[in-house]
């Protein structure tokens, strides 16, 4: 009987982590400014006081690296959120983008910015927090509207999610087109997603939200396996279903909210990565959840590197890359492994 063992878990996670580190290093050296590995060695070997802040070091450490780390966090958060929402709703089509959670988070973040809450109070940065609340309210709304006689209608839920997402996106477009001098840029940022122009403090804060959220969700990974059987069966296997669901919804909203509040709406990561990983490593959430997180990071780092290098100096919105690369591949997988999705 082939089932998940600690050994298989460790090997997979270590391999993916190495792949992620390699990706981060590789992508740090991609870009319009020509920086080689030996330049980095030079920066470190010379005494910091003299050459530390030369142009190459600034580009590498203050422009590229924070952006790559942000892509790492956002990609991981969206992929994990997709895995969790799919399990919670027992629906392979669920993901934070489709269900409107991302739009809710974006609207929350925009409201925080409009209210001038672009500051940190104590350790609590308000923009990701508003993103989290917006995402959570959206998913709760969609969930309760779809509940008919104690049962969730999956078709209704998808429809409600898509419609809610569209309404929220319209509100976002309205607000961004009314406010600020950089109207078009603002709209592009929120609706197509962008990972540029975030500095270290924000990257650290978002990382904190995402890592804490993912660790909480990881602890409940085995419970997600049971939830896939349906609430009744999960209860009969000893799971406290209501509590688990609450924590999973909150955790998924937390990481989605944090990710979206700094990157806007980046589609496809949340649905593509979970399915891709399921095909490779199986459905056991104890491995699927962290593996999807790591692979989501890798995928978004690569996509964002393409976004900033492909037509440099013009930047392509990263959401365009994730959709153009991910979409056709996803359709190919669906065709090839039809039975897994439509049975």
């Amino acid at each position: 009987m082939k089932v998940l063992s600690l050994k298989k878990w460790l090997i997979t996670i270590v391999l993916l982590t190495i792949l992620l580190i390699v990706t981060i290093i590789f992508c740090s050296f991609q870009g319009s400014a020509d920086i080689k590995l030996k330049d980095l060695l030079e920066i470190f070997s010379n005494s910091p006081s003299q050459t530390w802040w030369n142009t190459k070091a600034i580009i590498l450490l203050k422009v590229r690296l924070p952006r790559i780390l942000l892509a790492c966090m956002v990609g991981g958060a969206l992929a994990v959120s997709g895995v969790v929402l799919q399990a919670l709703l027992r629906n392979p089509l669920a993901d934070p983008y489709i269900l409107g959670v991302s739009s809710g988070s974006a609207l929350g973040a925009i409201i925080a910015i409009l209210l001038g809450l672009n500051i940190t109070i104590g350790a609590l940065p308000l923009i990701p927090l508003f993103g989290f609340v917006g995402g959570l309210l959206t998913i709760l709304f969609v969930y309760h509207i779809s509940k008919i006689h104690r049962k969730i209608s999956i078709q209704t839920m998808l429809l409600v999610g898509v419609v809610t997402g569209a309404i929220l996106a319209a509100i976002i477009m309205f607000i961004t087109s009314m406010a600020g001098p950089h109207k078009v840029q603002g709209i592009i940022f929120w609706l197509m997603g962008s990972l540029s122009s975030q500095e270290y403090p924000m990257v650290v804060i978002v990382s904190l939200y995402v890592i804490v959220g993912i660790l909480i969700l990881l602890y409940y990974a085995r419970s997600l396996n049971l939830l896939v059987l349906g609430e009744e069966s999960a209860t009969q296997l000893g799971l406290e279903v209501e509590r688990t669901k609450k924590i999973a919804f909150i955790g998924a909203s937390l990481i989605t909210g944090a990710a979206v509040s700094v990157s806007g709406l980046i589609g496809f990561v949340g649905i593509l990565i979970p399915h891709l990983m399921r095909m490779i490593i199986g459905s056991d959430h104890r491995l699927l959840l962290p593996a999807a997180g790591l692979f989501g990071s890798i995928y978004l780092i690569l996509a964002d590197t393409l976004a900033r290098t492909l037509m440099a100096p013009t930047e392509i919105p990263v959401g365009v890359i994730t959709a153009i690369c991910g979409g056709p591949f996803f359709i190919y997988l669906l065709r090839k492994k039809k039975t897994i999705f439509f049975h």
Binding site: M1, V3, L4, A221, N225, L229, E232, S233, T235, G238
Partner: protein, 281 residues
């Protein structure tokens, strides 16, 4: 067979919204017996299983498990004693049969927890017993209905529970699989001394395999007793509002039910014949 009550249900009343689905039920489940629950659609059969496994809480009345009030136990403790086999399980994601059976070990694990060697051993024993080990690496939704139901029974067995509740376990299966599942149930009862409560829609299978039967009618117990006492023409025609013929199965001696169409009844046929001859003349 010992006769200590496993479950003791007293004055149970339950409703989802306005009307009572279960309206004052009292019964006991004895250790080591196969108890069948039969009755028309909507008579509250499945609701009883949901209350016994505490998916639902009754508004009135009490359920005692081994003398302890069911409400005093945690969901995990209940799952360590009670295993449930639902009518059918929908799997939205590609889990393997082995993974599904191992989920039966959940009541004994906590947190992130990987299964131990012992858990794996218990799961493979359950799969050997249900004859599912050979396809443990296949995906659960690639199996036929009968195979899948056996895998789900293996999951309940892996819980190492003392009682198994089955909700119409053969509802979607053809006759070959029906006999296979019921033979397996009987085997578990005899070899593993497992107490079983089966919601059955097939009266003949219930009559053949169950030690005792409860016949429900609109949320109340209409008749409780041995199959011979419960499966009678009078009881069934009253509760199911339909004509049946009950005779003795020549092989096993258990009561056997034959459904009689209202169209086929002698009286009706005579009426039609006279009507036709009248028309001709």
């Amino acid at each position: 067979m010992t006769l200590t009550p496993f479950f003791r249900v007293k004055d149970l009343r339950f409703r989802y919204d306005q009307s009572w689905v279960l309206d004052g039920l009292s019964f006991e489940v004895r250790e080591g017996e196969i108890l069948g629950i039969i009755g028309p659609n909507g008579s509250g059969k499945t609701t009883i299983l949901r209350i016994l496994s505490r998916v639902l809480m009754p508004q009135e009345g009490e359920v005692h498990l081994h003398g302890k009030n069911l409400l005093a136990l945690s969901q995990k403790e209940i799952a360590q004693i009670i295993g449930v086999v639902p009518q059918d399980t929908y799997f939205p994601f590609p889990f393997t049969v082995g993974e599904v059976v191992l989920m039966g070990r959940s009541p004994w694990l906590s947190g992130f927890g990987f299964e131990s060697e012992r858990d794996l051993q218990i799961a493979s024993q359950a799969m050997t017993l249900t004859n599912t080990l050979s396809f443990s690496n296949r995906l659960i939704f690639e199996l036929s209905g009968g195979e899948r139901q056996r895998a789900i029974i293996a999951r309940a067995l892996a819980q190492r529970s003392q009682v198994m509740l089955l909700d119409e376990p053969t509802a979607h299966l053809d006759i070959g699989y029906q006999i296979e599942i019921y033979d397996l149930i009987k085997k578990l009862n005899v070899e593993k001394r497992l107490t079983l409560i089966i919601v059955a829609h097939d009266l003949n299978l219930a009559s053949e395999y169950c030690d005792r039967l409860i016949l429900l009618d609109a949320g109340r117990i209409y008749k409780m007793g041995s199959p011979k006492e419960v499966i009678t023409e009078e009881n069934l025609s009253r509760v199911y509002q339909s004509k049946v013929l009950v005779e003795e199965n020549p092989v096993t001696g258990a009561p056997r039910v034959t459904l009689l169409s209202k169209l086929m009844s002698k009286k009706y046929r005579e009426k039609r014949l006279t009507a036709r001859s009248n028309r001709i003349s």
